[in-house]
Symmetry: C2
Subunit: 241 residues, 2 copies
């Protein structure tokens, strides 16, 4: 069975894509977005659990997530790994892969997903007529740096409770931007993946979810979350001691 299906694209373009307000073109004027139409010539479907790319793979493209969800992770020599990010539709995966085309991480689909492929060479080509495209790419990369710094902040100076609260709050915000409910959603990641990402164990994650539920901050049933008290949740993020 084929795990990674490439689809030639000619009927759908950035200018007509539903994700335009959150994806690569975000903030660009309409006449410029039209010039991006030549940018995406391929889309790829990836099955749950399958890699979009792997550590050290030679690749000269960015991937814009159209549907589904993807995690990125660093693999250690000893077989363990560290999840470095969870990506939702409209978000760009692969920005760490622009060092001589070698990816420093791997990207794996957390559910059946579809990505638009943006070749770096096409970016350079098209940015000759749309100079703001270079800004856009830099903006996205800058945002990715800022995002990972935020995670550093969580791992470096927050207690477990604060980390998980920050995680939920962040997920809520991003889903809301995507047009989903910010209070009712299904987490695509397992307790194990959340724990790995936040530098905690699966048991700690589970206990914290239970505690948040007991304290009336959230309701939780497996991966379904309902945020009952958003204010309390956000206060947990800053709560000292």
């Amino acid at each position: 069975m084929q795990k990674r299906i490439s689809v030639e694209v000619d009927s759908q373009h950035c200018s007509t894509c539903m994700m335009g307000h959150v994806c690569l073109p975000v903030g660009m004027p309409a006449h410029e977005v039209q010039q991006l139409d030549a940018l995406v010539t391929e889309r790829i479907r990836i099955e749950k659990g399958q890699p979009l790319y792997r550590h050290n793979e030679q690749l000269n493209a960015l991937f814009s997530l159209r549907s589904g969800s993807i995690k990125t992770l660093l693999e250690e020599a000893n077989g363990s790994h560290q999840i470095t990010g969870f990506y939702l539709p409209g978000e760009i995966v692969g920005l760490d892969g622009m060092i001589e085309g070698k990816h420093s991480s791997s990207a794996i689909a957390m559910e059946d997903s579809e990505v638009c492929v943006v070749q770096i060479k096409d970016i350079d080509e098209i940015s000759r007529s749309v100079p703001s495209l270079q800004h856009q790419v830099r903006r996205l990369m800058s945002k990715e740096i800022a995002r990972s710094h935020q995670v550093l902040l969580a791992l470096g100076s927050m207690r477990s409770e604060q980390r998980l609260a920050a995680f939920l709050s962040n997920l809520s915000q991003r889903l809301s931007i995507l047009g989903y409910s910010s209070t009712d959603f299904v987490m695509r990641m397992s307790r194990e993946e959340i724990g790995n990402y936040l530098g905690l164990t699966i048991e700690t994650i589970s206990r914290l979810f239970s505690r948040f539920a007991r304290d009336g901050v959230i309701k939780i049933n497996q991966r379904e979350v309902k945020i009952i008290d958003m204010k309390a949740l956000n206060e947990l993020v800053d709560k000292p001691c």
Copy 2:
């Protein structure tokens, strides 16, 4: 007393700069590096403890560290902070500041330092004639993402001993690239700064340095480090349990 002294530059250029092999032009052919000479029109001296830029400051420039050392940090609402990076000469500071010109972090000199200022608008200007400059900037940003992912790996899945060993090993490598000894150096950062960066307390850092010294891996006297057994140090990074 003036804390931040701006120096107009017209006598010194990228093409003749000693840092060329480690700085922005790294890997670029000589005839292209010459075209970068117009890129740096200003240099800034910063005194120890003074900011190069602050969180939320409007700024449209990158800074290449010429001499000294700089730390970047995120400031939290409650007054605490998380150090996100230590920068050495030839390294680029400010790559997270390209989101609408707002810096998401602050950068502070750890000793009297000097930086070359590279205006973003000049990058766009000059990259018209030197297209590879855009690649270069993306490469640097990509590297910065990969770097912060490495720190995530340390904070998320290493024990204190591994973190400090990884920190020393990384510092050693970078100093060696700069042409300094990889085994004998002076750390510019305090125990407190190291602890903050690695998500550990000052006491834990101090105890670990003492233990490394007791085990014959390093010699340490205040901030002077001598790595006695580099192999053992690198083994500590991977050492489980």
